[in-house]
């Protein structure tokens, strides 16, 4: 990159830094983001700053398109006069936000870059390695199951055109032996680092839909980030009111129970899970607990603290507690935790007031690189 564009680019980044936080924040806060995820792809916005001009309002404007469809059908793209990168250099009016599809890995990298998240220190369990195949190339020999149909067809077409056999009126292409192309793979050797996230959520009556939505969005991002760090990431889900039970992901986000709250029940179950399935010598363990901070009694809070000290903290990378503000909760629990674990780096607490606070909360949780 030359000096000139470098300067212009860094000034742009400078402008965006002031701006991008809001941009990204707004975008993360939108629950629809997860809904858009299909085939492991989500749309991410690339920041664009629009210079205001006298322009037509969007909605009255409309345009002209081409293709099938009846009057009243929706139009595929938002705007038909989309500009493509090709062709003459011109002045294209920039669109406000360019949405591109990226993989979750890339998304995690972008998140990491924007939030300046450190890469996670592995707990030193690099002894086990595993080979992973990646299909990256093409070769002339291989098993039929890996035949690359399109490439093979193209070779055959090319050959038949070149040898004059091709007849446009009867375009039948018969692949011959030499036309065949196969996918080939490369073996990547990677250290295996096993990791498990144990999500715990308070589903007592005081946790409303909005609170659960916040938990859902936040855990999506935590998932995305940790998945980038560890190849084999497992997730377990525990819900609790006065009693705790393990559920699947779907139930986790949908259940709504009434009744009291005994947080210790969840911590007990969490500790059991670790005992049974995740020996701490082989696993990186991340318990995340979300609640509105309204525990049943001080006694129960004390037993929670005891459980953490004795059973959980010794075996996990970190213990994260996120407190979602709700109109009913007292919010006492986070204060108790902070009182008892003020010195302990392994316990991370965060208060999430509303959707806009999700980004800073993620940064609090993951900013330490544990």
């Amino acid at each position: 990159m030359s000096l000139k564009i470098d300067q212009d680019h860094s000034r742009f980044r400078g402008i965006v830094r002031g701006k991008i936080r809001q941009n990204l924040r707004r975008y993360i806060s939108q629950g629809e983001l997860i809904g858009r995820k299909g085939k492991d792809l989500v749309s991410i916005p690339i920041p664009q700053i629009d210079i205001p001009r006298f322009v037509y309002g969007d909605k009255q404007r409309g345009g002209v398109g081409q293709g099938k469809g009846d009057v009243g059908d929706a139009v595929g793209g938002q705007e038909a006069d989309g500009d493509d990168g090709q062709g003459q250099a011109g002045q294209d009016a920039g669109s406000h936000v360019l949405e591109v599809d990226v993989t979750l890995d890339e998304l995690a990298d972008i998140l990491g870059e924007e939030l300046e998240l450190p890469a996670i220190e592995n707990k030193g369990k690099n002894r086990i390695v595993a080979a992973k195949d990646r299909y990256t190339g093409i070769r002339r020999v291989g098993p039929d199951s890996l035949k690359h149909f399109k490439r093979t067809y193209k070779e055959a077409l090319r050959r038949s055109v070149a040898s004059g056999v091709y007849n446009p009126k009867d375009p039948i292409i018969v692949p011959q032996h030499d036309d065949r192309r196969f996918r080939s793979w490369k073996e990547d050797v990677e250290p295996v680092a096993n990791a498990v996230i144990i999500y715990m959520m308070d589903v007592s009556g005081s946790m409303g839909d909005e609170q659960k939505e916040i938990v859902r969005i936040e855990s999506f991002w935590i998932d995305t980030w940790l998945r980038r760090q560890y190849q084999g990431l497992e997730s377990r889900y525990i819900i609790h009111d006065a009693v705790a039970r393990e559920v699947d992901r779907d139930t986790f986000f949908k259940t709504r129970e009434s009744g009291g709250t005994m947080i210790s029940s969840a911590y007990k179950l969490c500790s059991q899970l670790i005992n049974q399935h995740y020996p701490s010598t082989e696993w990186n363990i991340y318990p995340f607990h979300f609640s509105d901070g309204d525990n049943w009694s001080m006694d129960d809070t004390l037993s929670c603290i005891e459980l953490l000290k004795q059973d959980i903290l010794t075996r996990v990378n970190m213990f994260a507690y996120g407190q979602v503000e709700s109109p009913y909760g007292s919010g006492q629990f986070v204060k108790d935790l902070r009182e008892h674990f003020a010195e302990d780096e392994r316990v991370v607490t965060s208060e999430i007031r509303d959707r806009d606070a999700i980004v800073s909360s993620i940064k609090e949780f993951l900013g330490k690189g544990k």
């Binding site: 212009d8 322009v55 909605k59």
Partner: protein
């Protein structure tokens, strides 16, 4: 990055191809400026593309923004720029390193079409730096030795140097902010001023002269019937009124070139005026390209396809060529692809003029069967498309050659926002509607018509702009922001008269706050 104007860095095998392609192009009648191809890596390509094709421009963050967009799109595998060519004499074109030979040949053919277009289309005559002002007869045939000065690459670099000098003196922050202000007003230009003498030297009238009412020619004895006295008197009053109204008005008549008006009349510091002039010059440089996007891409695509499939491709290229060409021509998601629209229109013109499907006999014929087999074997197609590429721009091109049959065959539709379903929907397939919408979109480059109406509005030195409302409201938050920029330059309150939801409104910014009111006081 230093760009040298020689071709030494183009590999030999590509130089050979270029020579071959240019020879074939000439044989087909293409007439182009010399073309200088440069081979670039993808990040060099992204950089130059971010600068609008020029290796050297003034510093501004938006180029950095564009660079980021292009390089991210490239890294995420969404798009890459195959080719780029700038309107310059000689024309500079860029090839992407690592493309296959087939792709490079395709790009060279495509570029040749563009450069022929730059040289011959009348719109681009306004970018001749040695033309003098303005070109009132762009159609006039030029001699075969037409070799205008279009050293825009140098001019842009000079702009860059000038702005850098200003930056050294006043600091990047201040200068960049002012450039932002200018860019807000960048689209307030008059596309036709390039071809019309807008301002006539008005005679300074010391004393009011008697008003001469033009009379219709008549024989003496018919005079009082053809030019009745009352009518003449009425006209005289009208003219006098108009003259009184004009008196003391500034500008004397509406000005669409708001930028020029500001350069001439706003209380700017020297460096500010220099920057505003640069922004205006560059806006006019890019105007022909925006004005002919469909034609220009269509013409280039017509020629890459013709040259590639007739002589340039060898057997080993043709499949890859076809695949790439299909990628460029694709219309998906209901989008109108300017490459496709342009090339199909040129082909339709060629066919119609080859078969003689034009003129009154053709228009008046209502026999579908006869029309279908209409072939006078005139063979005028090639001649016609060369003529069209010289004398039309997108608006006139589509107005004249986009026929109902064409719209039907290519399944054109118009779409609009549906409030009920909150999405864009197809609202018509009616030829008239579709064509009107398309032409409306292209008119004035899709910009609203804004004029300087009065520079002494309400006798308080305020500026009044007028939006000539043609059915679509302005985007109001942007309009207010733009007024802020305008006030920064005019240094007095600025007003804009427009319509919103069918009602007349005056938007005003006085340097402190925005206001809007229904009527002028």
């Amino acid at each position: 990055m230093a760009l040298s104007p020689n071709q030494a860095d183009l590999p030999r095998y590509l130089l050979v191809e270029q020579e071959k392609i240019e020879a074939v192009g000439r044989r087909y009648g293409l007439d182009f400026f010399p073309v200088v191809f440069q081979m670039l890596s993808y990040d060099q390509m992204n950089e130059i593309a971010a600068y609008g094709g020029f290796p050297n421009r003034y510093p501004h963050w938006r180029f950095g923004m564009e660079y980021e967009r292009l390089s991210k799109s490239y890294e995420y595998g969404l798009s890459k720029i195959y080719e780029m060519v700038i309107n310059n004499n000689p024309s500079y074109a860029y090839l992407l390193e690592g493309n296959s030979l087939t792709d490079q040949k395709l790009v060279m053919c495509h570029v040749l079409g563009h450069v022929d277009f730059f040289k011959n289309n009348f719109s681009f005559r306004s970018t001749d730096l040695d033309a003098g002002e303005p070109i009132t007869d762009p159609v006039r045939r030029r001699g075969s030795d037409y070799d205008p000065n279009r050293r825009w690459i140098d001019k842009m670099a000079n702009h860059g140097a000038a702005v850098r000098r200003i930056v050294d003196r006043y600091g990047i922050g201040r200068v960049e902010q002012f450039i932002d202000t200018c860019l807000s007003l960048e689209n307030l230009v008059d596309p036709w001023s390039r071809f019309v003498r807008r301002r006539r030297e008005e005679k300074v009238e010391e004393e009011p002269t008697a008003v001469e009412v033009p009379r219709l020619k008549s024989k003496d004895y018919m005079e009082e019937f053809i030019n009745p006295e009352e009518y003449i008197e009425e006209q005289r009053k009208k003219i006098e009124e108009a003259r009184d109204k004009k008196k003391g008005r500034h500008p004397a008549s509406r000005e669409q070139d708001v930028l020029l008006f500001l350069i001439e009349n706003a209380p700017l510091e020297r460096w500010e005026r220099a920057i505003l002039s640069i922004v205006r010059d560059e806006a006019y440089y890019f105007a022909p390209q925006m004005e002919t996007k469909v034609m220009n891409e269509g013409w280039a695509s017509y020629w890459h396809s013709k040259l590639m499939t007739s002589e340039v491709c060898d057997w080993s290229d043709i499949v890859d060529y076809a695949e790439n060409n299909a990628g460029v021509m694709v219309t998906s998601g209901g989008r109108l692809n300017p490459y496709k629209l342009g090339v199909e229109l040129f082909r339709s013109i060629e066919e119609r003029w080859n078969r003689g499907q034009f003129g009154p006999e053709w228009e008046d014929c209502n026999d579908l069967d006869q029309k279908k087999h209409w072939d006078l074997r005139l063979g005028l197609g090639q001649q016609k498309i060369f003529e069209v590429r010289a004398l039309y721009n997108d608006v006139t091109f589509i107005d004249e050659f986009l026929t109902e049959d064409f719209a039907l065959e290519h399944k054109l539709f118009s779409f609009g926002w549906s409030n009920r379903n909150e999405r864009f929907e197809i609202d018509s397939r009616e030829f008239k509607t579709v064509k009107e919408r398309l032409l409306g979109q292209l008119t004035n480059f899709g910009n609203p018509f804004i004029y300087v109406e009065d520079s002494n509005f309400e006798n308080r030195g305020e500026l009044l702009l007028l939006h000539d409302h043609r059915g679509v409201d302005l985007r109001s938050d942007y309009a207010n922001e733009t007024l802020t920029a305008l006030e920064r330059i005019w240094r007095r309150p600025v007003n804009l008269s427009t319509l919103a939801d069918g009602k007349k409104v005056f938007l005003k910014y006085d340097g402190k706050e925005h206001s809007s009111r229904a009527e002028a006081p």
